[in-house]
């Protein structure tokens, strides 16, 4: 693989090396980032977005709410041609558009800037409402949040509203790496279900299971996929 040839097609197997450009490490196992597989399956098989379609009103919207540790996100965006691979080594530097939290005005392909937790899902609710109000029935809205991010009360404002409002174009993927200090087994899906969401819990490293859960029908209801990965502390 040539790192400077952006016409190359990158695969999942290239992601660790792309991440290595940001961190200086030679190889990253998938465990190095909890979001890697979820992001790859979404961008590779689920989201209807492309680098030249970022102003298309009909595009799907992916909102990375959990802005911490965005290397996997940048690697996937680079692999899919949204941003040049050449940008990756500058990660976090003054002149780089790629910070430790993404800025939507700097990162091609990023729908929102994030970093402060608990902002993405409420914005996703508004995005879903805005698309509906304009009769744009095709685009789906996705927000990626972390299990500990659910501590933030703003998420619960969004969850409790979206279910009864029947926002069926709204999707959330919760990457659960057991990083919340206070949690109960099954608690994440139960909270969404109690608010009227469709909920599935799957292995967050199993691409087929993720794809099946991401594309499961959920008429009339918003949909959450809880993607379980190795505990952060492991």
């Amino acid at each position: 693989m040539s790192m400077t040839n952006t016409t190359l097609t990158y695969t999942y197997a290239d992601l660790p090396e792309l991440m290595g450009l940001m961190t200086g490490d030679e190889k990253h196992g998938p465990a190095a980032t909890s979001t890697l597989d979820v992001l790859w399956v979404l961008y590779d098989r689920v989201l209807r977005v492309s680098p030249d379609g970022m102003t298309d009103p009909e595009r799907d919207r992916f909102l990375l709410s959990k802005g911490h540790g965005p290397m996997a996100y940048y690697a996937v965006l680079a692999a899919k041609g949204f941003l040049p691979v050449e940008w990756l080594p500058g990660f976090g530097s003054y002149d780089s558009p790629l910070g430790h939290h993404p800025d939507r005005t700097l990162v091609p392909g990023a729908e929102i800037g994030s970093g402060s937790l608990g902002h993405g899902l409420p914005i996703a609710v508004g995005t879903a409402l805005g698309l509906r109000a304009q009769g744009l029935d095709e685009p789906r809205v996705w927000a990626l949040i972390g299990d500990a991010e659910l501590d933030e009360g703003s998420n619960h404002e969004a969850i409790a509203f979206a279910g009864p409002a029947g926002l069926d174009r709204l999707h959330t993927v919760v990457v659960d790496n057991s990083s919340a200090t206070y949690a109960r087994p099954g608690g994440i899906a139960a909270r969404f279900e109690a608010a009227g969401w469709s909920a599935l819990t799957v292995d967050g490293r199993d691409h087929e299971a993720l794809y099946t859960a991401f594309t499961a029908p959920h008429p009339g209801r918003p949909h959450v996929v809880v993607a379980q990965v190795e505990p952060k502390s492991a």
């Binding site: 005005t105 402060s116 409420p122 996703a124 508004g126 805005g130 304009q134 404002e157 509203f161």
Partner: protein, 303 residues
Amino acid sequence: MDTMRDRFAPVVSRLLDEDPRVAVVLAEIGTDGFAEAARRHPDRVVNVGIREQLLVGAAAGLALTGLRPVVHTFASFLVERPFEQVKLDLGHQDAGAVLVSAAASFDWPAGGYTHMAPGDVALLDTLDGWTVHVPGHPDEAETLLRHAVAAGDDKVYVRLSLQSNGRALPVDGERFHTVREGRSGVVVAVGPMLDAVLAATEGLDVTVLYATTVRPFDGAALHRATGTAGTDVVLVEPYLAGTSTAAANDALSDVPHRVLGLGVGRRELRRYGQLEEHVAAHGLDARSLRGRIGSFVGAAAPA
């Protein structure tokens, strides 16, 4: 007389009819006024329940899809409670919205401090790019609301209050308006403070400027006024005292000058009662203002 807030729902309901970009976002407060508009535009009148973080976050999402959200609740719950959403979901995301507040500094004194927001404009001053309208009459509120919604994707705050002047003046959503000209000082009356300022300065040889758009601050108008009226400047604002003092200082940075910032005091009164009682308690009634303005301009420039 009807209130500024009485005008809000009818004006914005008409804008919903006229402009398919306009959407209204509410958090229970103010929903009655939009009942009819919600029937006509069910997808563009959204009530998120008593959820103010979602109120602002959802407005940002609407804006990111190309709509022009008009967001309304009491000032304390619109600017103070979800301040980080105002800072990030609108500012950092580079998304526009029109925030329209009610209840102002102490419109409902019997409701107590939880429903008072004298610090709203000062808080917005910590952020970049906000236009702030402070109408002083329901007619002006109507004009400024239309101006705010029509302002592209700008971030605009419209501060509605029960406090009002007896008659409306022409407002353009931009500049200060010269109401009276004198030679011994400039008094800037913001929004509903004008009537009290005019009564307080009756017979004083001062220029009175009327400000209904305070951000951006019309520093050019203030500077111009000091050319004939001198550089003693009094600001009379219906929110936290001194909110615009820095803006006035910046406008006059090339000349020696003095600025007195009058407005709502910082100290919590822990009083209920009537609006007029709170106006007086903060020294913003005409009689108190006359004493404070008179001694300030008189001390520096005896007539």
